[in-house]
């Protein structure tokens, strides 16, 4: 840990400001709380909102896990993890169960979370109504008055054009029957995990200066039509490394001849399954 930094980079006054916003967000689940987002030593779009929320939540005893699209070893995850190793000196882990704070970009870990864990989402655009109604003054009013018919217009357009609800990520949800919320661009496969989750879920949007939250065991319902119900989707395949059929899969192109493989997007989940002896179609043990 570098002595030149305050613990977890942000100064105490900033952390207090963010914690206040977090408490308010937890008190009104799904409501977007404005906060005075700071410049962070990374560009917007790289998780400045999530990093600020994580910094405000971290204590020296915490164990931090950072994932980017489920993976622990991609650029975004590695740089944010190293950032907190340097500025906070907290323990880090790649194992979901060991972490007390998990910062995530666009995935919820496959392994069910438990009470006491905090999941921090990086959010690019917190306003679910943004692309339907560009005026912020108007969308705030719509949230205040629960005028959410427009959200269904988007889903209607999906069905009219594609025959089914084609929205596959950032799928809008309704929290405790009140606020409509953008769950950040997680695949809709993860939407059911938002609901009734024992962990605290915090959402930080740095550029848009908004924080919102889901306290533990909050009811979260994905919007749909009666005759076109919500369906979580994933690739119709098994992981080629660990053989898992129930996890969310990435499709990877492996050569120039159209060869492709599927593997778990959650690297920790995949590795722990392989350690336990599960083997997929293209696992090194099989191919070698």
């Amino acid at each position: 840990m570098s002595e030149a930094y305050t613990f977890a980079y942000l100064d105490d006054a900033t952390k207090r400001m963010i914690r206040r916003a977090l408490l308010k967000a937890l008190a009104v689940p799904g409501y977007q709380v404005p906060f005075a987002s700071r410049e962070m030593p990374m560009p917007y779009g790289w998780g400045t909102g999530g990093v600020q929320v994580t910094a405000a939540c971290l204590t020296p005893e915490d164990t931090l896990k950072v994932i980017d699209q489920g993976a622990d070893d991609t650029t975004n995850a590695v740089s944010i993890r190293r950032f907190f190793e340097r500025t906070a000196g907290v323990a880090v882990s790649e194992h979901t169960a060991e972490a007390s704070v998990i910062q995530t970009r666009h995935r919820i870990p496959e392994k069910p979370l438990s009470e006491g864990q905090i999941l921090v989402y990086q959010v690019p655009i917190p306003e679910p109504l943004r692309f339907l109604e560009p005026r912020e003054s108007e969308t705030r009013k719509m949230h205040a008055l629960e005028e959410y018919g427009l959200m269904h217009v988007k889903l209607y357009e999906d069905i009219a054009r594609h025959g089914a609800i084609a929205t596959s990520y950032a799928y809008p949800v309704r929290v405790e029957g009140r606020y409509v919320m953008d769950p950040s661009p997680i695949p809709k496969f993860d939407n059911p995990k938002l609901s009734n989750n024992p962990a605290i879920q915090l959402f930080g949007a740095g550029r848009e200066q908004r924080i919102y939250a889901l306290p533990p065991y909050t009811q979260v319902v994905s919007l749909d039509f009666e005759d076109h119900p919500f369906e979580p989707t994933k690739a119709e395949a098994a992981c080629d490394l660990c053989g898992a059929t129930e996890s969310y899969l990435d499709e990877v192109i492996v050569d120039d001849a159209g060869g492709r493989m599927f593997c778990c997007s959650d690297t920790d989940f995949c590795a722990s399954r392989r350690d336990a002896g599960h083997i997929g179609r293209l696992a090194p043990e099989v191919v070698a």
């Binding site: 008055l145 427009l150 269904h152 217009v153 209607y156 357009e157 009219a160 054009r161």
Partner: protein, 252 residues
């Protein structure tokens, strides 16, 4: 219901020192069509904006079914605006969502009042497109792909789909050529009779007023200078300005 649907008493709207409209009072009964005519800048659109709640009036009362809409809380007024009222803009671009298909445009009000069954919404939208003479095969086209007349008819369908009681129209035939205007007016007249709508229609086209309106109000400089039955006002104008207005129309 025997009393008036809408009672307006001493309505005034000022833009700083200038008068938008002032001392406007009238009653509107269910099923009645009230025309508001006058030249540009006479306060017609201001008056309509105040009635619809788009502008906040400075004085007076607007009683809808006996309740003052000016004293209502905004949520309640917005619920009224999407269930019992409808507002047809002069420019269909102001009243339509241009990025959303025709079916979505018609369905929006349904979904806003809680319809959550795709098949039903689509059937209703398709039915309404038929009623405003738009081919049901174009239900998935964006309004951009429609002609001006079709856009205006789509806007009307979108507004009437929830079966409102009171429809406000701001120059619904403005910018359309005469044959399209005639068909639109025919359509409007039929819908008004069929659904028993109370309508306030703002226009500067006396022919439109003659065709649609039961009663007429003539406005000038923000004041109502003459009011009465349409035929009476147009055939026997009393105020000097109304006489000028009536005689300005080119007789073909």
């Amino acid at each position: 219901m025997s009393g008036p649907l809408l009672e307006v008493v001493g309505l005034e709207k000022r833009y700083g020192a200038r008068i938008g409209c002032t001392e406007v009072s009238f009653d509107l009964y269910p099923g009645e069509v009230l025309g508001i005519v006058g030249e540009s800048g006479s306060g017609k659109s201001t008056l309509l904006g105040c009635l619809a709640g788009h502008l906040s009036a400075d004085a007076g009362h607007i009683l809808y079914k006996g309740r003052d809409t000016r004293a209502m809380a905004e949520p309640e007024r917005r619920v009224l605006a999407r269930t019992e009222w409808a507002f047809v803009h002069q420019n269909p671009r102001d009243g339509l969502r241009m990025g959303v298909s025709a079916g979505g445009n018609v369905g929006e009000r349904l979904m806003a009042v809680g319809a959550r069954h795709y098949g039903d919404i689509r059937a209703t939208a398709s039915d309404w497109l038929g009623r405003v003479e738009i081919d049901a095969g174009r239900i998935d086209d964006r309004p951009r792909a429609f002609s001006g007349g079709m856009q205006q008819r789509l806007q009307i369908a979108r507004n009437l789909v929830t079966g409102p009681r009171l429809v406000m129209m701001d120059e619904p035939t403005g910018g359309l050529d005469v044959s399209v205007q005639a068909r639109l007016l025919d359509l409007l007249r039929a819908l008004v009779r069929e659904m028993g709508l109370a309508v306030i229609i703002v226009t500067h086209d006396l022919a439109v007023a003659r065709l649609l309106a039961d009663r007429l109000m003539v406005m000038k400089d923000g004041r109502v200078i003459e009011a009465g039955l349409t035929d009476q006002v147009l055939d026997d104008p009393q105020a000097a300005y109304t006489q000028l207005l009536v005689s300005s129309v080119l007789q073909v």
